[in-house]
């Protein structure tokens, strides 16, 4: 049987990646819905209400799965990673508790009010509720990433009696790692929500149904997508540069750079990696680019995996400090390619709309329908790179992952729950997709007026 550590890692990986299919949709959609409902209140145009209600339905199905899989996230640290919890609870627990107090109460209370309050509240109070939900989801992301940033780049702690104690709360929330990670995740979530809206809208527009709802939805989402997907690349670039400071090993692994590069350093587009032999046999490289990416200039060498391994062994004692290079290298590339593709696709669409004031062409709509999985791929790959690139550490430089597991939980127990959660999550995904597909096919429910396709009005921006 695989070890308890391996099983606990698989469980964390599966449940977290799964949870993070839903979270970015929640964050991205709630802002789009808030924008739509605000337009409804300001312009008093019922189409925007219909929009907010239609996307609200998809939002709620998605939110339900996000919430319930989030509970497991909070429990999992104690269940499978008890020694980790004891080791860092003093520092790591605080942002989690604050997340509940500040974010979960806010989003759950006002979402309840929003769902059931359409005819119980004034329009202003009602739209305020959805904005408060949006703020809640964002605060939630901020605080959980505060916790994650500590694992990536521990700050504001002192070691005492073999565990980390918080010594500066200010340092925790001003952790540079957090201020790269949080905007990156937040903007990535906006892109995700926007691509979901564009994909679903494209589907309906291709069928020429409910054009009065889906054309403006598509327009609003395109604008959000192009702005957010551009900014997410900018922040991502800065985040990668910060790796040189915080986790040079992760950067080297993401480049499959075994030996310290010369100066200027080339960037590897493609490589066949032989991790056990510590070398790559075939590569396509672009000269200068790694220096530019790392330092924003045309020169500078980047430290390689083998040299860093020696340094870390000297610092932390004998051991293997090299993460899974193949996974880190490829997850990073897939994320970057998917991200660039999303920017190009949404920029193309917006450029056409602005230039020609045209409705999106059928071909473009088909692209955008098929582009819907892209943000999910990018999100997943981003987290795989971040978390697997940190290995073998659970808290970088402080605790090894294998030392974090629960001492009294057996591999058999972890395997049992791993199988059960995987099966349960699989079923949930099937039902979730089935229901969202149904809502999408049904389309918006017209309030007062019939839903005959109206003339193609210009996209409301």
């Amino acid at each position: 049987m695989p070890s308890e550590v391996a099983l606990a890692r698989w469980q964390f990986g599966i449940t977290t990646v799964y949870h993070f299919f839903f979270v970015p949709v929640t964050i991205g959609l709630v802002y789009l819905i808030a924008i739509m409902e605000t337009l409804y209140v300001v312009k008093k145009d019922d189409r925007y209400k219909q929009m907010a209600q239609f996307w609200g339905k998809i939002f709620l199905i998605n939110f339900a799965v996000g919430v319930v899989t989030g509970i497991l996230q909070e429990f999992q640290f104690g269940m499978n990673w008890a020694n980790y919890s004891r080791f860092v609870g003093d520092v790591f627990g605080a942002p989690l508790a604050i997340e509940s107090l500040l974010a979960f109460f806010l989003e759950s209370t006002f979402l309840g009010v929003w769902m059931f309050g359409w005819d119980k509240l004034s329009k202003r109070m009602h739209v305020a509720s959805i904005w408060l939900v949006a703020i809640g989801t964002t605060l939630s992301a901020f605080w959980i990433l505060t916790a994650n940033a500590f694992m990536q780049h521990p700050v504001g702690y002192t070691m005492r009696d073999g565990h980390a104690e918080m010594s500066s709360f200010g340092a925790l929330i001003t952790n540079p790692q957090l201020w790269y990670e949080f905007p990156h995740v937040f903007l990535g979530s906006l892109v995700t929500g926007a691509f979901v809206v564009m994909g679903v809208s494209a589907y309906q527009l291709l069928r020429k149904r409910h054009i009065e709802v889906f054309q403006p939805s598509f327009g609003i989402a395109s604008v959000v997508a192009v702005a957010a997907s551009f900014l997410v690349m900018v922040v991502g670039h800065e985040q990668a540069q910060y790796l040189l400071v915080s986790q040079p090993m992760k950067l080297a692994a993401s480049e499959a750079l075994w030996k310290t590069s010369g100066s200027p350093a080339p960037w590897t587009l493609f490589a066949i990696i032989h991790a056990s032999a510590h070398k790559n046999t075939w590569m396509i490289q672009i000269p200068y680019l790694l220096s530019i990416l790392s330092y924003n200039r045309l020169y500078g060498s980047v430290p390689g995996i083998l040299e860093l391994q020696q340094q870390m062994a000297a610092k932390y004692g004998p051991g293997n400090y090299i993460p899974d290079v193949v996974m880190v290298f490829w997850s990073f590339r897939i994320m970057v390619f998917a991200g660039a593709l999303m920017f190009l696709a949404s920029a193309w669409g917006v450029w056409r709309m602005v230039r020609n004031r045209l409705v999106p062409s059928r071909r473009y709509l088909k692209w955008m329908l098929w582009a819907t999985p892209l943000p999910f791929i990018a999100n997943t790959m981003g987290w795989i790179m971040t978390e697997m690139g940190r290995q073998p550490w659970v808290v970088y430089g402080l605790q090894l992952t294998r030392d974090g597991v629960s001492p009294t939980v057996s591999a058999g127990e972890v395997l049992t729950t791993l199988i059960a959660f995987t099966v349960l999550y699989g079923l949930l995904a099937a039902v979730d997709l089935f229901l969202i597909a149904r809502v999408v096919r049904q389309g918006p429910v017209a309030d007062d007026h019939d839903d005959e396709p109206e003339s193609l009005s210009p996209v409301a921006l």
Binding site: V67, A82, R86, G93, L101, F110
Partner: protein, 337 residues
């Protein structure tokens, strides 16, 4: 008051809020398939807690987060020790959470009936497990000198702990029935009152039996952390008075009294436990206390400032949400699905 004691009190408050609020949610969830004869009635019953249940559950999520932050040693031992129980709790909460949302999305009898039973099971299992867990925390569980739980899942199951689970469940069902009687009118209200009458006697009897067993099984009555004084007596009186108020059709008072029973009983348990958080059955010296599991004073101070700043606002807006939906539900108006 030391910071450790303050955080012990804050976590107690979070559990009190959780049991009081989510208590009636669970009760309603358990009663849905029995009190609702038609789809519309069932929907109406679910809608009595529709806008609230998620925020109510956050009381528990926050309690978990607060344990992690303030007493990492307690969080780690409890969650890894009661592993399979926590696993079952998670399965229940996951199923229940999605069921509320998924149920209405397809108009098909078999589909809806299926999710109604998921709601039932997902509402039944948590109070049962919580009762069992609380009983074990009072009774003591095998905790070694390294603060690790060394028993198995089956060590948590005993006549005493199951009695704890059953009485807690019945109390919540009663609480839920009374909540329904406050939020509905007409035939559903009548059914809810009838259910409260039928369950009330059992809930009272079993809860008292559990108290008697606690006397025999735990040191709660002899080794007092903080002497709870009249608190448990008042809890008992409140529970007895429920019967009277149900018969007098004073639903509000009856609901208030089950709430009071839940609140005062939880206070009693925490006062008796203090300063212990998990009792070791192997050696009293190995018990987990607020002192040997707490975070450092700086961390607790930061958390105190955050909690005392935020909680008043939470109470205000959560209270406001109940006020928004204060009107009784009836099928005369279109239901939110």
């Amino acid at each position: 008051m030391t910071l450790e004691s303050l955080w012990f009190a804050i976590i107690a408050v979070l559990f009190i809020g959780f049991f009081f609020l989510e208590g009636f949610d669970y009760g309603v969830g358990i009663l849905v398939p029995f009190l609702g004869k038609t789809d519309e009635e069932r929907r109406l019953l679910i809608n009595t807690i529709g806008p609230f249940w998620d925020a109510n559950e956050v009381w528990f999520i926050t309690a978990g987060g607060a344990m992690f932050a303030a007493f990492p040693g307690w969080y780690a031992t409890l969650f890894s020790g009661f592993y399979m129980a926590l696993f079952l709790l998670l399965v229940a909460l996951i199923g229940r959470g999605v069921a509320f949302e998924f149920r209405s999305k397809v108009e098909n009898k078999a589909w809806r009936t299926f999710w109604d039973w998921v709601i039932f099971g997902g509402s039944l299992l948590p109070p049962l497990l919580w009762g069992i867990a609380l009983a074990n925390m009072m009774h003591g569980v095998p905790i070694d000198q390294n603060k690790n739980y060394v028993g198995s899942f089956w060590d948590l199951i005993s006549l005493y702990s199951v009695m704890g689970g059953v009485s807690m469940t019945l109390l919540f069902v009663l609480h839920g029935a009374l909540f329904i009687s406050l939020r509905t009118s007409g035939v559903l209200q009548e059914r809810a009152r009838a259910a409260a009458t039928a369950i009330g006697a059992w809930a009272t009897a079993l809860t008292f039996l559990f108290v008697v067993l606690s006397y025999l099984e735990t040191d709660m009555f002899t080794r007092r952390g903080i002497d709870p004084g009249v608190v448990p007596v008042l809890a008992g009186l409140a529970l007895f008075s429920v019967q009277f108020f149900i018969r007098a059709k004073r639903d509000g008072w009856a609901f208030f009294m089950t709430g009071l029973t839940i609140v005062l009983s939880t206070i009693t348990v925490f006062m008796d436990l203090f300063p212990r958080v998990m009792v070791s059955s192997l050696n009293p010296a190995w018990s987990l206390t607020i002192y040997n599991t707490a975070s450092n004073p700086y961390s607790l101070k930061v958390m105190t400032i955050v909690a005392l700043t935020v909680v008043p606002f939470v109470l205000l807006y959560q209270g406001w949400s109940y006020w928004v939906f204060r009107k009784r539900l009836s099928s005369d108006h279109p239901l939110e699905y």
